[in-house]
């Protein structure tokens, strides 16, 4: 299976569209960074408009850590699209090219085939996320400097000390990797049912967009189904950026307000990944290859 995995990885990185994905995300992040470099203060003023009526908040608010947080929030749809571009093509693309029948008539088990393909798609996903981390975090830190991060949430604001942030980003990116692997698994799963990657890509993005809409609207009937939607759990990386306070309302260095939420969401995403890949294996094993 390792050889199969290497060949799948080779195919992914031989395709121009793979590099287009990296270029696209680079362009997006750079545009956000340029925008914030130019008008970061205005953006901060807008975000803190309500708090600013009562408080003076001084310091390097638009620092690298804050910029990275903004980028990660804003790329909620874009990064999954770029993941789906590759993952949704893994099986359907082979069917479309006509190479699926050639591949599956070789002495390789279909289970190994599916797992090797998903593993290769996962590596692509992780590399894309590492690239996002380098650009969004390290380059932002270099351009904007570092300071405490000040974040506004629905019910309160959180200030996290500068020395208490970097490890949170490591955790957040690990979690984001899990979230994006879930997207990859979904796209990969949908790829079984088409002979053209457009369908699975559109289906993946439609599911993510619709589920995100359900997740964001506070309508009672939606609230009942929210816990079961993977999009609800994909944003749990933000929990790394909330701290506990002690009895004196002092934030506790190195703490996370809801670690249980992170763990629960991680487990749910892992379950989704296993489910999607498991069904993909079962589905391809049973499938008649007519393409």
């Amino acid at each position: 299976m390792y050889n199969l995995f290497k060949l799948e990885l080779y195919k992914i990185f031989k395709r121009p569209r793979t590099y287009l994905s990296f270029a696209a995300i680079t362009a997006l992040i750079v545009i956000i960074q340029i925008g914030l470099k130019k008008d970061g203060k205005e953006y901060i003023s807008f975000v803190l408009a309500d708090l600013g009526n009562s408080f003076e908040i001084n310091g390097n608010l638009c620092n690298g850590y804050f910029v990275c947080f903004c980028i990660l929030q804003l790329l909620l749809i874009h990064v999954p699209l770029l993941i789906a571009l590759i993952a949704a093509d893994m099986i359907s693309g082979e069917a479309n090219m006509g190479t699926l029948r050639l591949l599956l008539s070789k002495p390789i088990s279909r289970t190994e085939f599916v797992l090797a393909k998903f593993a290769a798609a996962s590596v692509y996903t992780l590399l894309l996320l590492i690239w996002v981390a380098i650009l969004a975090l390290f380059v932002s830190m270099a351009i904007f400097g570092t300071d405490d991060i000040f974040l506004v949430k629905n019910n309160y604001a959180v200030q996290i000390a500068k020395d208490d942030i970097f490890w949170r980003y490591i955790g957040a990116f690990f979690f984001a990797a899990l979230a994006m692997l879930t997207v990859a698994a979904l796209a990969f799963f949908l790829s079984q049912f088409a002979e053209n990657s457009i369908g699975p890509i559109v289906a993946t993005m439609s599911i993510i967009i619709v589920f995100t809409i359900f997740s964001t609207m506070s309508i009672p009937i939606f609230n009942k189904i929210k816990p079961y939607m993977f999009t609800t759990h994909m944003v749990a990386w933000k929990e790394f950026f909330d701290v506990k306070v002690n009895a004196d309302n002092e934030s506790i260095f190195g703490s996370i307000q809801r670690p249980d939420k992170i763990i629960k969401s991680a487990l749910i995403l892992i379950a989704h990944i296993i489910g999607f890949v498991g069904i993909s294996v079962y589905s391809l094993k049973k499938k008649d290859i007519l393409s």
Partner: protein, 231 residues
Amino acid sequence: MKKIITTCLILMTVSFSASAQDADALVKKIKTKLEQVNNYIAEGKMKTDVAFIKAPIGKVKIYYQKPNKLKLVKDKGISILPKGGVSINASSVIGLTNYTAIDAGEQLLNGTKVKVIKLLPLDEASDIVITTLYIDEVQLLIKKSATTTKENGSFEMEMYYGNYANLGLPDKMVFSFNVKDYKMPKGVTLDFDDDMKPEEKQKLKKKKGRVEFIYSSYIINKGIDPAIFKS
């Protein structure tokens, strides 16, 4: 009868002006004490305690140059202070020059008997409407002040003294102020997961906020580079 009333009025006026003079004298005594300090650099910690803000304690340096130059520099990081700034200096509380001091009696404050004196600015342009001082007459220390301003609401300061009591410099100062309800639209926070319990949300609706300064050291009357106040 007329004589009795006249006498009473005269006595009241005299006692009032005497007490006003007492209040004024007390304030002047405090000012004199505080004027021993021409400048200081204080190091300490600042803690912002607002129900809906989670903030870490930060190290601060406070620079003071008589009569009214004051600068707070956070060692690193972001500082959150109430709008209108923080009067973190007793001198600023009694920095008024054109005022009337009124004796408002005595009270027990944290187990200590204090004299309550109200300062009314005579300058109509002054932002301060009234300041109430709670003064320990024996040690000539301002234990607490409550100030109402036109533009920046009301705030209180409580001071706790220790090593530098003789110079009127506190070891700890708590600045309390009123806060409005925190409201942030989801479209701005991009935080759509609101699973906070109602009782937890209720706790965030406290109307008062505090900033605490805990001073670890003072460097007094050693001079300060004027450039610090310019930046």
